[in-house]
């Protein structure tokens, strides 16, 4: 007999979690499972799931702390991410997004036969592709993520998007700079620009800065006075480093200035 499937349960309502546990016990003849852990909000899942050895996550999409679809995207960065079955009470947009992107989901109240079928299917298929989750997130109108995630082996560190000052592409990675420090993430700059429309503004081919953090512009000290070709640098709130503005982006940025000053 094969080892039981390790299932992690994420739902913000305690009765819903106990209902799922009851159902898992009911269907053990058909799918043997073992509860690897449970959590009542998105941030707890990020903290507890990676060390739990869970192979499958039953994930309520409407949870405090962090929505289910965003959570799934962060988990996808793990070395051995769990297969995910989304659970929702009623969310037409999300269901449509799951259908379109071939993601598994269950409707609440969950029926035991559906649960058994979903577990078997998801366990066989393995973790969902990251791109599918991204597309589902966009389709479900879940909005932009609240966090960037940095995965270190088997741990996920979250960086709130609101703390980011700038993002700079360097070789393979994107460096993400906050007041507190630097992180490396593996996402293309262009995708970030598209996801967070309006929040970041491009100052250079390889650099996005947080629009609200712009405090002004300075001429680069190296350039000689009166030279038409001299560079401008952007000054960001709480940051000593100056980032060069490309000539191509300068007209766009100049027009932002009055807004940046307020």
């Amino acid at each position: 007999m094969t080892a039981p499937l390790k299932v992690f349960i994420a739902d913000d309502e305690a009765p819903a979690r106990s209902r799922l546990k009851e159902l898992l016990a009911d269907i053990r003849e058909s799918v043997a499972t073992e509860v690897a852990g449970e959590a009542g909000n998105g941030l707890d899942v990020i903290e507890r799931l990676p060390g739990s050895g869970a192979q499958l996550l039953l994930l309520d999409i409407q949870m405090p702390g962090m929505g289910g679809i965003e959570l799934a995207r962060h988990l996808a960065g793990l070395e051995s991410p769990p297969a995910i079955v989304f659970v929702t009470a009623h969310d037409r947009h999300a269901v449509e997004a799951f259908e379109l992107n071939a993601l598994d989901y269950l409707m609440k109240p969950v029926r035991s036969d559906r649960l058994a079928a979903a577990l078997k299917k998801a366990a066989a298929a393995g973790p969902a592709l990251r791109e599918r989750l991204e597309r589902a997130g966009a389709h479900a109108n879940a909005g932009a993520r609240e966090y960037f995630s940095v995965t270190e082996r088997n741990r996920i560190a979250l960086v709130p998007v609101s703390e980011v000052l700038f993002l700079r592409a360097e070789l393979k990675y994107v460096t993400l700079r906050t007041k507190a420090g630097e992180h490396l993430i593996e996402e293309p700059l262009i995708a970030i620009e598209r996801e967070f429309t309006g929040r970041f503004v491009r100052v250079h081919r390889n650099c996005l800065v947080t629009r609200a953090a712009i405090r002004g512009f300075e001429r680069s000290s190296g350039a000689a006075g009166g030279d038409e070709e001299q560079h401008w640098n952007v000054v960001l709130e709480g940051l000593d480093e100056r980032l060069p503005v490309s000539r191509r982006q300068w007209p766009t940025l100049k027009s932002l200035l009055p807004e940046a000053k307020e």
């Binding site: 913000d12 819903a16 709130p160 609101s162």
Partner: protein, 335 residues
């Protein structure tokens, strides 16, 4: 039975206790005066002077009769329409005649013309208000009310059913109670929504609703009730409080990870009923939820259909708490 179908005979006198009715009457009469002045004088400046002078004769009886009608409103409503209208006309004419006797000399407008204007204005105002009432009540208002009938979020229904399923094996009695609460809630929801209900009934309803949410959310929801001073006999449209409380839970409790305090206070202040519902405003980090204004707009519109301009629903953010204040006239017995 208190009901919005108070206008069974379509020719009912307007409710003179209503601010909207008063405001309309004031505006309408003054507009008529301007029109009359414009028609009487060919020159605009002279017409304006004429209007100003005529206000001496118009405003005192107008204000006095509105005040008297306000006081006499309960009595007038019990009379047949024709008798009520005749009384209103007699009142206005008497007051106008009195005013003319006192200040008619200043205005220089003859007694006959003054009384003629007063009669025409009264009849037109009554006709206009009756028309307005009709446009806003029977068929049209009922259709709009049904369309506006508060709807509980499906999200709540399915999550509640799920919670009951979870209880059936472990705590069958609580499961039974919860299903009974759900049944009451949906009975109220599927009622036709046209009759006014007592505050006591609405309180019972929101307590049932809160009991279900408590089961789902456990200690994350901390309700405090301040309803000792609630005027239990006051009348209000059905399902006004429940959607407000549902909003508070949906936006103020569910997105939060910790314990959230929700306050419900219902009290009477003089001839007004005040309801305050407060919930924590969730920080920007919490997943934002849309759709708040739909419920509020819906309630506002229903309040308007029942109370016209005499009800207020305001929201504000103070000290990290989202507050909804509802203010309606205190009415009992017959609406």
């Amino acid at each position: 039975m208190a009901s919005i179908r108070q206008n069974q005979y379509p020719n009912a006198l307007p409710d003179f206790r209503n601010l909207g009715v008063m405001a309309r009457a004031l505006l309408f009469v003054n507009l008529l005066a301007i029109l009359a002045a414009a028609a009487a004088e060919s020159d605009w400046n002279r017409a304006f002077d004429m209007f100003v002078v005529s206000t001496v004769l118009i405003e005192p009886p107008l204000l006095a009769s509105l005040l008297l009608l306000l006081a006499a409103a309960p009595l007038l409503r019990r009379l047949p329409y024709w008798l009520g209208s005749a009384l209103v006309l007699a009142l206005v004419l008497a007051l106008t005649a009195g005013t003319h006797a006192l200040v008619g000399a200043i205005a220089g407008i003859s007694f006959g013309r003054t009384l003629a204007f007063a009669s025409v204005a009264t009849v037109l105002v009554l006709a206009y208000l009756s028309l307005h009432l009709r446009a806003h009540s029977p068929a049209l208002a009922e259709a709009r009310l049904q369309a506006l009938q508060a709807r509980i979020r499906p999200h709540f229904l399915f999550n509640s059913l799920n919670a009951v399923l979870a209880l059936i094996r472990s705590d069958p009695r609580r499961a039974e109670r919860t299903l009974e609460d759900l049944a009451d809630l949906f009975r109220a929801l599927m009622s036709d929504g046209r009759s006014l209900v007592r505050v006591a009934d609405e309180i019972a309803l929101i307590e049932r609703y809160a009991a279900i949410e408590q089961l789902r959310l456990g200690e994350r929801l901390r309700m405090s009730w301040d309803m000792d001073q609630a005027p239990v006999d006051a009348l209000l449209p059905p399902l006004v409080l429940q959607p407000l409380l549902e909003n508070a839970v949906y936006h103020g409790v569910e997105p939060g990870t910790g314990v959230s305090d929700v306050l419900v206070r219902i009290e009477r202040r003089g001839d007004r009923v005040h309801v305050r519902i407060e919930n924590p405003s969730q920080p920007a980090g919490a997943p934002a939820r849309a759709g708040n204004h739909m419920a509020l707009d819906n309630i506002r519109e229903r309040l308007m259909l029942f109370f016209d301009a005499d009800a207020r629903l305001e929201t504000k953010l103070s000290d990290g708490r989202y507050c909804v204040d509802l203010d309606i006239p205190y009415r009992t017995g017959r609406a």
